[in-house]
Symmetry: C2
Subunit: 397 residues, 2 copies
């Protein structure tokens, strides 16, 4: 696969717009993808079909000419930004500069993504530009299909992630169980509590040693694990489920991976054991449904079927439920850890080159939580499971 902006060209033609425009820093993955330029502060990108032009501050100008995808790089000072900001304030000055930059490109009508800043959009409209919103976020759709280089980046992030998961499991395996049921470890000759925070530190240091960074990790035990977005804290306890969900970003490429395992030290309750077996079954049912032409909605439905057949509530059977299967089945992974395609009730068609996670799970504060998440590439004839070698085993002795 090589990167294709054909969908963007088609959209510009269909909308009769002169350019697709983004104003954001590279923390906006559409901006990073389209411009190819990694810079923290907002800058302006205009894609006309014929050329990609970016407008940056003087501070970023030299690097932008060397590192970005742009055919043309302009700088704010060319449009007298500083003088205009002193006179009219920053917001008006920026809108004026952007309008002049677009005029130089011959752009009179722009398509922008949903999350384009309204202040800039209104400023351009006030200056006579037509600004319409692309409600379908075409760049995110383009991003969903990865090139070989992008897939390799996800593979490297996944290998780092598997090493971090193994390090976390090793730490739990090495722990002892204190009289009060909490886990303890011997470190530097001292016995200390094995906490969620300590396991996260092990995960994060392992990822750093493998060239990956991450903002957050989930190591959630017991009732914490019953809330899918709880990051977890405090001592881990034997016999309770511990959900470990790690979603690192390779620092060099900025591509992510994402995987989850659930462990129980020394053994688990019957309920957790049953949930785990059922979640493995749901994972297999979902993976069986993954192939080009299937939709994310169908994969999600396969998971709901398994859980509902076993009398667990899902958001499909009860949109307000707070227990059972209370999230979507998965999501695309790339520059964002959550991106297209979605494996949810509205999930679109899967295509070769998509990278998706499949992550069924069950939750109830009275019981705990169980989640198993693999990350796979959709291929011409099915899928390739990148986390197939990471064992799926609940009990850690």
């Amino acid at each position: 696969m090589t990167r294709s902006l054909a969908a963007l060209d088609d959209l510009l033609a269909a909308a009769d717009a002169d350019a697709y425009c983004i104003e954001a820093g590279s923390d906006d993955s559409n901006q990073l993808y389209l411009s190819g330029f990694d810079a923290p502060d907002p800058f302006f990108t205009a894609y006309t079909g014929e050329q990609l032009a970016i407008l940056v501050s003087g501070l970023e100008y030299g690097r932008a000419t060397k590192e970005s995808n742009a055919d043309a790089v302009a700088r704010l000072s060319t449009y007298n930004y500083a003088e205009r900001a002193a006179e009219d304030g920053q917001a008006a000055a920026l809108a004026g500069v952007y309008a002049d930059f677009l005029a130089d490109l011959g752009v009179e009508s722009a398509l922008v993504p949903e999350r384009f800043p309204v202040g800039v959009a209104d400023g351009l409209r006030d200056r006579g530009l037509a600004v319409d919103v692309d409600g379908d976020d075409v760049v995110e759709t383009v991003r969903a299909t990865k090139t070989e280089a992008e897939l390799d980046a996800v593979r490297r992030a996944t290998a780092a992630n598997e090493a971090a998961m193994a390090a976390a499991e090793d730490l739990i395996a090495a722990a002892d169980v204190a009289d009060d049921g909490t886990l303890v470890i011997e470190e530097d000759g001292e016995t200390t509590s094995l906490t969620s925070e300590r396991v996260k530190e092990e995960i994060e240091v392992t990822l750093l040693r493998h060239g990956c960074a991450l903002d957050e990790t989930i190591v959630a035990c017991g009732a914490d694990a019953a809330d899918p977005h709880d990051r977890g804290s405090g001592p881990l306890r034997a016999g309770e489920s511990v959900i470990i969900d790690i979603f690192p970003r390779e620092k060099a490429s900025k591509y992510h991976s994402d995987m989850t395992r659930t462990f129980a030290k020394g053994g688990a309750s019957d309920a957790i054991g049953e949930w785990f077996a059922l979640t493995e079954e749901a994972l297999e049912a979902a993976l069986d449904a993954v192939e080009p032409g299937a939709t994310g909605a169908e994969v999600h439905a396969a998971v709901c079927d398994v859980y509902e057949d076993a009398d667990h509530p899902t958001l499909r059977s009860d949109p307000d439920t707070e227990t059972g299967f209370i999230h979507s089945t998965g999501h695309g992974v790339g520059l964002d850890v959550h991106e297209r395609p979605g494996l949810n009730p509205r999930g679109e068609e899967l295509e070769p080159g998509h990278v998706i996670t499949v992550e069924p799970g069950l939750y109830d504060p009275e019981v705990g939580g169980v989640r198993i998440e693999d990350i796979v590439i959709v291929t011409e004839d099915g899928y390739e499971n990148l986390t197939a070698d990471s064992p799926v085993e609940l009990v850690v002795q």
Copy 2:
């Protein structure tokens, strides 16, 4: 200091608007600050002066009721989001849900920040809401003045940062100089090149051990150091300046710190030595200007004066210069690593409780780069330098 939303109340009254609204995830610091809720996906916050209400997905509902600042928490399913999305698509469904949520709050006119998504703004306007843009970003102005708890968070992040800087300096001090002038270290009985990447790893691991995370660090040597935004790569070399700029975030509080030191292993050229002395002088001049009532513009001018008096170009003397002092003097630090107040030509008035960095520097690809950055709290009678105990010394033997 306690948090005050008085400026927001005043703005709503002056604009005759019913609510200040934000639609973003907590990666948007205004959203995190106003809502007090840390969630990755976009959610809707409406502040009416009388109450703060937030609208979240079912997945976040339980946590939002426990953890957010909101007086009222609503969920998407109450407004039949799933059904509407299936029928009208996600963008239209969200706009409809937000409009109904605002109607329930009695809100007919909304003020939104510059970076509020245009797709949502246009969707609300289409449904009869008046949506005007707050061009002054009032929440960021409110955020600039920190409470004692926020200052304590910055102090903790700064202590971690100083430990990381010391670890980096220790690593350079422990290095030897190879025949080709590159730095080498003995690790695990082997001699390996001391690279920018290896120093960054040391910094990052140290920060993790102190409860802080970071996306990026700058360890830039020689010509790399001449570009203020270059992160640096490859072997470090003796006699060249190495800029180390670290800007971590405390994971628990999400508050940042930021500091920079410049080192030269074994000695430095006369040019770098002169630049370093001049930059220390510029730092002192800037700090002398920091007090309540002074403006960020005045502090910035003090630095420009020092450099221009020594015949170095600045962006004030030449807006297009690519050498000399080519950035602003500093910025506020808090939930964002770059926030208000700015120490730049448009810098606003400093007030007690502001946290700012002061970071003069000189750059030229023929020479290298030098930057020294301290972080200070503006106090009633001047400032408190949080990095006063971190030595400012160029040469590392």
